[in-house]
């Protein structure tokens, strides 16, 4: 838990009307957009709970599209994000997923496709005050907040991978704040989420991807 700063209390500076339904929603989509390489050409959103009930009045739909476009939470273009999406060649759709009684009240599922043919599906929740959490990536339960600079690694669940990753981080002198692993089934696809103090250099990505059991490494810095 980070210490509370004055800018958490008098801030964030954001486009209204709601820190959870506008700023937090944008942040989920922004994080999701960092999980695919290439230009995103299609975004499909399914809204649950309070998001499903009040999304239009809170501009949640515009904020989600703005997040995929990479806008920040204080960008005045959020209001007109639909026309910016059209200009950028981004197609989008919204589906009402119902009350989602078992889910957090502000939940959205997002599926993104990029021009490289990659796609990713995530579930995000807006946890209040503009903060958010990615809870699921391609069906695997994870926890990703974006509060720290993050390295997201997709790998095969085989021995030796984590030792290799930490070895590379050590070579680059990176201090790990938090490190967690997630998998659904033994031996299948797994994710390693590493949150670090300080910055992450792009050069680390090809080094990590050099291991045969690692599918991809992505830097998430927002």
């Amino acid at each position: 838990m980070k210490e509370i700063s004055i800018f958490d209390v008098i801030g964030p500076t954001m486009i209204g009307p709601s820190s959870s339904h506008t700023a937090g929603a944008l942040r989920i989509a922004l994080l999701a957009g960092k999980l695919v390489r290439g230009r995103i050409v299609r975004a499909d959103f399914t809204l649950y709970g309070s998001f499903a009930q009040t999304y239009k009045g809170h501009g949640t739909d515009r904020a989600l599209v703005a997040g995929v476009l990479g806008f920040s939470t204080d960008d005045p273009r959020i209001r007109d994000s639909f026309s910016h999406a059209e200009q950028a060649g981004l197609a989008y759709s919204f589906t009402i997923g119902g009350l989602g009684r078992d889910l957090h009240p502000n939940t959205v599922d997002i599926t993104l496709q990029s021009d490289t043919g990659q796609s990713v599906s995530v579930r995000g929740v807006s946890t209040g005050g503009g903060s958010c959490l990615i809870e699921r990536i391609d069906g695997v339960a994870v926890s990703l907040s974006g509060d720290y600079n993050t390295l997201l690694i997709r790998q095969q669940d085989t021995p030796g991978v984590v030792a290799y990753i930490t070895g590379v981080l050590s070579d680059y002198g990176i201090n790990i704040a938090f490190m967690r692993m997630y998998r659904e089934t033994k031996g299948q696809t797994a994710y390693t989420i590493i949150e670090v103090d300080g910055g992450l250099s792009d050069a680390i990505v090809p080094r990590i991807e050099g291991h045969p059991a690692i599918d991809s490494a992505l830097l998430i810095q927002i």
């Binding site: 954001m14 209204g16 700023a23 009045g57 503009g130």
Partner: protein, 294 residues
């Protein structure tokens, strides 16, 4: 330097002979490693966003996303310019500006959540009205933001500022407490008087429910911000007269937390009670969503 209660904060003020703003600035630099100059400069930027939101509300036609509010600040401005306000010039200005910021927020404009988007009008309303009426320097306004931040930090840490957890008392109540302390500091009050004003402001709104019509940050949020702003000025005036709060600040924060926890969920931002559940509130809700689905 750190503090976790109002009592700690007052001790630090006394030991060092500092204002609340000075203690808060020291804490911020130590906790984040950012220089004093950088913190002050970022706060100036924050104040600039508040100032521009008020100007936007007074000069541009605004219509909220849900269509429940829009144009109120300009109406209040027009009346204030034509006649003597019922609640005095400073309060009338603070109320008008606070309501204007809520219009900007509800029309997807740029605001500062202080502490939340739903209560984003209170601090700009009080601050701009006081600066215009009393001629405070920008540096004094930055100090006032630091003072407000100290109060907001303590309430965030020891209770809640989320309407979904504590009702409107946690949002507008906190904003009013922050603005009350800041106004007291601006007008020459001691650190003790600042926290007395904050305790009074919080106590005056204890129990206030969060009941947005159609679930939108529009009504009654806008006029609740007006009440928050006037409550801040009234509480500062009481504290500056040398009148303390019977219940100390820390105990008032704890009382607010407990009242919030005992509010039913229907009165905590779910749009199931209060104004939202009145026949008119329900009819407006139906109208907004039916017209959008069509």
């Amino acid at each position: 330097m750190d503090f976790t209660t109002g009592a700690d904060l007052l001790s630090l003020c006394e030991e060092n002979g500092w204002t609340i703003a000075q203690v808060m600035l020291q804490r911020e630099t130590e906790q984040t490693g950012v220089s004093r100059e950088a913190v002050r400069s970022r706060l100036d930027g924050v104040y600039g966003v508040m100032w521009r939101a008020v100007r936007t509300a007074l000069t541009e036609p605004l219509r909220s996303m849900g269509g429940l509010i829009g144009g109120e600040a300009q109406k209040m401005q027009a009346r204030r310019q034509q006649t003597r306000p019922a609640c005095g010039e400073t309060t009338a200005k603070a109320v008008c500006y606070a309501m204007g910021v809520l219009e900007v927020n509800a029309s997807m404009g740029l605001i500062v959540a202080a502490p939340t988007a739903g209560s984003s009008g209170v601090i700009p309303g009080v601050f701009l009205a006081l600066q215009e009426e009393f001629g405070f320097s920008d540096g004094e306004m930055t100090d006032a933001l630091l003072c407000a931040g100290a109060v907001g930090y303590l309430i965030t840490r020891n209770a809640t500022v989320a309407g979904a957890e504590g009702g409107c008392q946690a949002e507008v109540g906190t904003a009013a407490a922050m603005a009350a302390a800041a106004a007291t500091q601006l007008l020459g009050g001691t650190p003790q008087a600042c926290l007395a004003a904050a305790a009074l402001a919080l106590g005056n709104l204890l129990g206030l429910v969060c009941d947005p019509v159609a679930g939108l940050v529009e009504a009654p949020c806008q006029t609740r911000n007006a009440i928050g702003a006037s409550n801040a000025l009234i509480s500062a005036e009481i504290a500056l007269s040398g009148i303390s709060s019977l219940i100390p600040f820390d105990e008032m924060v704890e009382a607010m937390r407990k009242v919030g926890a005992s509010l039913p969920s229907s009165l905590r931002e779910t749009a199931q009670g209060g104004c939202a559940a009145t026949p008119t509130g329900c009819a407006l809700c139906k109208k907004i969503y039916e017209s959008r689905d069509a």
